[in-house]
């Protein structure tokens, strides 16, 4: 079985702090990491290969430095990796990103495409469903367990608001995974050795045979027109005194507001 895992290199936004004086980001020490949910996608792909045989290819669109992340993917068990990098790809919205990935997937052998549910930075969760539609493949979001793959069909559990659903779809298909699906492994020594020497081809718009006008910023339907920092100033009424007094103050305020009887 040929599995493609889509990964994105993202800034580790969970470590971001806001400087309260200037109300801007403190960027010092923000590292680029593999989008955390994508590591679960990769782990699941490697487990499926261990069970069913085949090949896992890590695929990413990004600037040249994303190659470093793809090496990490190889150290974690991917057999191969491909980087889609071209100035023409820069500034892509989800539609243009999905279009670029779709063009790459079409060039590769594939039975299953696995993505993380969403990224840490953009956080839209849109690329995978858009990719599925552009490839005209079935799509299952939020997979928490792959129950079975047999006779060209995939059966999976997924998480929705009210509980779990079990769905079945024919392959090739696109799925997104949630972190409940597995526990990603650490890189193996053999993997690390392999990742150092792995050849990671870089494909450009020309390699994908796509018109640069249909990808990147130029091919994006949405345009960012403004970026700003959410303004926060402390307006809270602070209750002083000992815990007893604080609790009293709060209860009387809540009564005053009619929140409690």
């Amino acid at each position: 079985m040929n599995i493609i895992v889509c990964l994105k290199q993202v800034p580790d936004t969970t470590s971001v702090k806001i400087d309260p004086r200037t109300n801007t980001l403190v960027r010092q020490g923000i590292k680029n990491i593999v989008n955390p949910l994508d590591t679960y996608a990769l782990e699941e792909a490697v487990r499926l290969r261990e069970k069913h045989g085949g090949k896992v290819t890590a695929l990413s669109m990004g600037p040249p430095q994303a190659e470093e992340m793809l090496r990490e993917a190889v150290s974690l068990g991917a057999d191969e990796a491909v980087l889609l990098s071209d100035r023409a790809f820069a500034g892509a919205d989800t539609w243009a990103t999905a279009r670029t990935l779709a063009a790459a997937v079409k060039k590769m052998e594939h039975d299953l495409i696995i993505c993380g549910r969403q990224t840490l930075d953009g956080d839209t969760g849109q690329v995978a469903p858009e990719l599925a539609e552009m490839l005209q493949m079935p799509f299952i979001a939020y997979v928490s367990k792959i129950e079975e793959i047999c006779e060209g069909k995939l059966r999976a559990q997924r998480m929705v608001e009210e509980g779990h659903e079990v769905l079945e779809a024919p392959l090739p298909a696109v799925i997104t995974v949630v972190k409940e699906i597995n526990e990603p492994r650490l890189p193996s020594l053999r993997g690390v050795m392999k990742s150092k020497s792995a050849a990671i081809p870089v494909w450009t718009a020309a390699d994908l045979n796509i018109d640069p006008a249909t990808v990147g910023l130029q091919g994006s339907f949405t345009q960012v027109v403004k970026i700003f920092f959410p303004q926060r100033t402390c307006q809270a009424e602070i209750f002083q005194g000992d815990p007893d007094n604080q609790a009293d103050c709060l209860v009387s305020k809540l009564k005053e507001n009619g929140i409690i009887p």
């Binding site: 971001v16 079945e168 403004k226």
Partner: protein
């Protein structure tokens, strides 16, 4: 396309360096340089006082084809009952439609959908309803193709949908089929009075920055909004609207994904998205047993128990209790945050609550920035007293 740097104008002041969310700008020899990886967000362009930075304009895309008008709200239902997010979107959609001088329609798919007239009572001029046994379990393949087909036929200029599990999974597929833009998880929607475009604002970069986004060339302009981001108005049963029942036509629709079974999640006694009062705990609780104390406070108030991300990551509480960027968005009348520092990802999920109470021993915790009332101190001292006083009052 790239950021163009006019070296002549650059004074090397570095004000752009501080605003780049990706840390890609550097002052070298008193001139600015840009590293690889820019996503052209434009933050630096705005920060530059000397007009030395600009985004090299992309060639104009062909303008959106004309003939599109009206706003559509996808009214999601589950088991035949319409979800609150539909009413919330209709409430905001009504204001947007009035400001555009256009009509507001609700589009609803399902089987035996009840209280359809509620959609007009909440602001829709028109309701398109496709009611069929084949639509009973919200089949995403069919929804994708059906919605795309109806959009092609009726040509609305704007489509809004809830950023629910269903909406987030199938609305992007509709956008891909139609070839148009989609903005996820908007927290504000407005109309640009001159260009008549939908102005969409959403948190990005982990909620640390806000982006305002437009979709000038694609139609419809599509956006998803999380439940509880907008408040729903009170229904007006006198409002007149037209209800159009459309036949479900299976022809030309391929459905490849099959729902085999469904298991309801029973661990959640009170749905936190629907709760009027929420008591939430964070890392400051220290260990899972301490959530019993918060549960007692919640029981006293008739509240739902929620959590920030760390306790869920630690496995102290199931994911269904998580509030924030990667959890649920809530908007209760009262939100009590105990031992929650207030990371921006958490704030994104709760800051629109009517009254926020923060209990934390760190007076500089960001949670106090969004709180209505702050109690600086040891939650293990404060919460038991709070429970006593509430019980005795």
């Amino acid at each position: 396309m790239s950021i163009r740097i006019d070296i002549e104008q650059c004074t090397g002041c570095g004000s752009c360096v501080a605003v780049c969310p990706f840390g890609l700008l550097e002052v070298i020899d008193d001139k600015i340089t840009l590293k690889e990886g820019c996503n052209l967000c434009g933050a630096c362009v705005e920060a530059c006082a000397y007009s030395s930075l600009s985004i090299e304009a992309a060639p104009e895309r062909a303008p959106a084809s004309t003939g599109y008008s009206g706003i559509w709200v996808f009214a999601e239902q589950s088991g035949g009952s319409i979800k609150n997010v539909a009413y919330e979107l209709l409430t905001r959609g009504r204001e947007l439609a009035d400001s555009l001088g256009t009509e507001l329609s609700a589009i609803c798919f399902g089987k035996d959908v009840s209280e359809i007239e509620q959609l007009t009572a909440h602001g829709a001029d028109r309701v398109y309803l496709v009611d069929s046994a084949e639509l009973k379990d919200n089949p995403e393949d069919i929804y994708t193709q059906q919605l795309a087909a109806l959009i092609r036929k009726y040509k609305p200029e704007i489509l809004l949908a809830g950023a629910t599990a269903l909406g987030r999974a199938f609305i992007p597929r509709v956008a891909a089929l139609l070839g148009t833009g989609l903005t996820a998880d908007c927290t504000a929607l407005d109309i640009d009075p001159e260009k008549k475009l939908l102005v969409q604002t959403r948190p990005t970069f982990g909620g640390n920055i806000m982006a305002t986004i437009i979709c000038p060339a694609g139609r419809p302009q599509m956006a998803t909004v999380r439940p509880r981001v907008f408040k729903k108005n009170s229904p007006d049963s006198q409002r007149q609207g037209e209800i159009i029942r459309l036949d479900f036509n299976r022809e030309g629709i391929t459905s490849r994904t099959k729902l085999l079974s469904f298991m309801a999640d029973l661990t959640e006694t009170v749905k936190i998205e629907e709760a009027d009062i929420i008591v939430a705990g964070g890392r400051g609780l220290g260990k899972p047993e301490n959530f019993k104390l918060l549960q007692e406070l919640a029981d006293t108030l008739g509240a739902a128990l929620a959590s920030s991300r760390p306790p869920v990551d630690e496995g102290w509480l199931p994911y269904s209790h998580q509030v924030g960027q990667t959890g649920k968005t809530v908007c209760p009348r009262l939100y009590i945050a105990a031992g929650i520092s207030g990371a921006v990802q958490h704030l994104a999920g709760m800051q629109t609550a009517d009254v926020i109470v923060a209990i934390n021993d760190d007076p500089n915790a960001p949670i106090f920035d969004v709180a209505t009332y702050g109690l600086v101190g040891d939650l293990f001292q404060i919460v038991p007293r709070l429970i006593d006083k509430l019980k005795n009052s």
